[in-house]
């Protein structure tokens, strides 16, 4: 019963909250969509925190997503010992980088008095949840080696079953508690998105690659 709540109901709730909340916030309070950068107030430590954290987490997240979308494709990667080692080492290194970053980001908000008034309760919540996520991720990477081998065969089928609206928790419940925690905490983060600055992820400014460098807006004409 608990398992059904945790591994079936909760993920759905989290995703629904994320989508509905995010969309609602976008249309009701677009002003609040912001990355809320604090670089202006503190610059040096932010560099060592923000850059490793973001690069680490973005690549790791992409790895999770690719592994989830193309589980069998990853077979090609793991038949070769060299590839396997590269993946494993790369994953562990990125994990450490991300840990380093998020820990610095937390310390930074504790030690710089100028950052205190700018830090909201939700900032602390999301920082701690992220810390739990990257710490547990690194723990798993270290103690349950070769994630590239097992990840596509147990957590991914569970995620897939959720996506197909045919939840099968047998894929996830037998796994060690830390892995289950990592999976659940991921959905906690998803559910928190609309209530925190994490919304900035979905407004990543990729359009800068192609947008015209000058923007002129007319009252009556579309463009000129």
């Amino acid at each position: 019963m608990t398992d059904s709540v945790l591994f079936i109901a909760f993920p759905y709730v989290a995703v629904v909250v994320a989508v509905a909340g995010g969309v609602y916030r976008y249309f009701a309070d677009r002003f609040s969509y912001s990355s809320m950068s604090s670089q202006f107030l503190e610059n040096r430590m932010l560099f060592w925190g923000s850059v490793p954290f973001h690069y680490g987490i973005v690549i790791i997240l992409l790895g999770h997503i690719m592994g989830g979308l193309f589980p069998y494709y990853s077979n090609f990667l793991i038949v070769n010992v060299f590839h396997m080692y590269t993946l494993e080492l790369g994953g562990i290194a990125l994990g450490l980088l991300t840990n380093f970053g998020v820990i610095l980001l937390i310390i930074r908000r504790l030690v710089y008095p100028k950052l205190v008034p700018e830090t909201t309760l939700m900032d602390w919540v999301i920082l701690l949840v992220l810390l739990a996520q990257v710490l547990s991720g690194s723990y798993i990477a270290h103690f349950y080696r070769w994630g590239a081998v097992w990840y596509p065969y147990s957590p991914v089928p569970w995620l897939k079953s959720l996506a197909h609206l045919d939840p099968q928790i047998d894929f996830i419940t037998p796994l060690p508690w830390i892995i289950r925690f990592h999976a659940l905490n991921a959905f906690v983060i998803v559910g928190l998105i609309p209530f925190t600055r994490l919304v900035h992820i979905f407004t990543a400014p990729v359009t800068y690659i192609w947008r015209p460098l000058q923007v002129v807006i007319w009252n009556k004409k579309a463009a000129r």
Binding site: A28, D29, R30, F31, Y33, S34, S35, M36, S37, S38, Q39, F40, L41, N43, L46, F47, S50, V51, F53, H54, Y55, P113, K114, V116, P117, E118, R197, H200, T203, A204, P205, V206, T207, Y208, I209, R211, L213, Q214, V215, V216, I217, W218, N219, K220, K221, R224
Partner: protein, 495 residues
């Protein structure tokens, strides 16, 4: 030809008395909120000096503005890919310390202090942390500090002066300074706009005012670096960038911007210019040394029949064309050629122009007497502020451009002195006029608009045609009974 109209301005530096009234007028209206305390959309700097934020002109430090490559402008700070790569940390972002830590005073202590032997004091508290603080810098910390080895000596414009000229700024009796009021230039090739990854900044088509959409800004904070004048600011509390809005709500109702309206020295002129938008790129990408000239070439003659015809065909309202003909800015910049853009080498094509200051006049000692302005009227090169300094500020180092302006300004003075005091021989007057390539009519016009302008002469605010814009969208009275006049949604507080 792609004709656009732009509300533009001229600041006459000779007239600025450095009173900072403009800055206060602006602050009172726009930047009193949390997170904006440190912003001065209008600020007045003492030159020579480091300015606000500290050393803003030094683009080795801040990487603002454009450079030229293959005849095209390119942002100095980033290209499209590196913009995204640097999104987690902008390596060239100025920090709060480059401006100053804003503060207020604990005034309540003056009333609430317990009785004692000493006078109570109001201690300064940081507007950011709310804690007591030591004040170490302010927005005009180098006010009047010309000659100071800390502030004036670090003025980036000194780079182009020779040793002797530099010394002159620091020697007693020849020490000199003037004021440089600055607002956003509402450029026609804005660096802030081009730098914004989210595309939140835009230029209004009808009047050229550059704005940051508060709903689209996501605090990627690239505009702050992109603007070489450091006229976009980061609201650290709201997580949004903000900038001078040229008081568009005032202008739309026929009033001059607050800083213009309150200007004590009456140094500010406002008017509309027509320019050719097709040539923006080539002007901004023109070879070093010709940028200011190319920019002035973009500005079209509103009396030219061709231009009028074309402007009408492109939908520019007749009233705007008429105001372009009355524009004092057009007179200063194009008809009389005595105003130049600030730091044209930044290539943003700023639409705020400055008349360089001629005064103060050098005093010469003769025995026990000091004679003021002895040979000054003779040659602009005797001006107390080296020509080269103004050339570094306004003309990419082109001294002849400054000299030409000086000759005209001197001619105005010589001519008017001959008319009013009468102690200058006619031949000398004619020589000054000839040298400046001007005539009595032009001189009188410059004199009138410089010394005796009324409010209507200084601020020729074009009709903003908002009624035409609004009728396209919705009638402001439509929802008067339900949501309220002018509202489309109930102005209810959100979360």
């Amino acid at each position: 030809m792609n004709i656009r109209s732009q509300v533009s301005a001229v600041f006459h530096l000779d007239k600025c008395i450095g009173c900072h009234t403009c800055s206060i007028a602006c602050k009172n209206i726009w930047t009193g909120r949390k997170g904006t305390e440190y912003m001065w959309w209008n600020n007045v700097e003492t030159k020579p000096g480091v300015g606000y934020p500290c050393l803003w002109e030094d683009q080795k430090k801040y990487r603002g503005g454009w450079k030229e490559r293959n005849g095209k402008p390119e942002l100095i700070m980033h290209n499209r890919a590196s913009a995204l790569a640097n999104i987690f940390f902008n390596p060239f972002l100025p920090r709060l310390d480059d401006y100053y830590e804003p503060w207020t005073y604990r005034y309540g202590d003056l009333f609430g202090a317990a009785e004692g032997d000493d006078q109570p004091v109001a201690r300064p508290v940081s507007a950011i942390t709310g804690k007591e603080m030591e004040i170490e810098a302010g927005p005009n910390w180098d006010d009047d500090l010309s000659g100071s080895p800390i502030y004036a000596a670090n003025d980036p414009n000194f780079a182009s002066l020779n040793e002797e000229e530099r010394k002159q700024f620091f020697a007693l009796e020849s020490m000199v300074f003037f004021y440089l009021p600055r607002i956003c230039n509402h450029c026609i090739n804005p660096g802030c706009l081009a730098a914004c990854p989210a595309g939140a900044i835009y230029k209004r088509g009808e009047d050229g005012i550059v704005l940051v959409s508060q709903e689209k800004c996501r605090a990627w904070r690239m505009c702050i670096t992109g603007c070489p004048y450091k006229k976009t600011y980061y609201n650290w509390s709201a997580g949004k960038s903000e900038k001078c809005i040229f008081c568009y709500p005032r202008q739309e109702t026929g009033q001059a911007p607050a800083c213009f309206h309150s200007c004590v020295g009456r140094i500010r002129y406002l008017g509309v210019l027509l320019y050719d938008a097709d040539r923006i790129e080539s002007a901004a990408g023109s070879p070093a040394g010709s940028i200011a000239r190319k920019q002035l070439e973009l500005i079209l003659d509103p009396f030219d029949g061709e231009v009028i015809k074309e402007a009408k065909a492109q939908g520019i309202p007749d009233a705007v064309i008429e105001y372009a003909q009355k524009s004092p800015v057009y007179k200063f910049v194009k008809a009389w050629n005595i105003a130049l853009p600030l730091h044209p080498e930044f290539r943003t094509l700023p639409m705020l122009f400055y008349v360089p200051s001629l005064l103060p006049v050098m005093a010469h000692a003769k025995g026990n007497l000091h004679e003021v302005g002895h040979d000054f009227f003779g040659s602009p090169d005797n001006a107390r502020i080296p020509i080269r300094y103004f050339a570094a500020l306004l003309s990419e180092g082109n001294e002849e451009a400054i000299r030409a302006i000086y000759r005209k300004l001197v001619a105005v003075r010589v001519y008017r002195r001959a008319r009013t005091v009468g102690n200058i021989p006619e031949a000398r007057v004619n020589k000054a006029l000839d040298e400046a390539g001007t005539n009595p009519d032009e001189i009188e016009a410059i004199y009138r608009l410089t010394s005796l302008p009324s409010v209507e002469d200084r601020f020729v605010i074009p009709p903003f045609m908002r009624e035409a814009a609004i009728e396209e969208v919705t009638d402001p009275l439509n929802k008067r009974e339900s949501e309220g006049a002018g509202f489309t949604r109930k102005p209810k507080r959100g979360w």
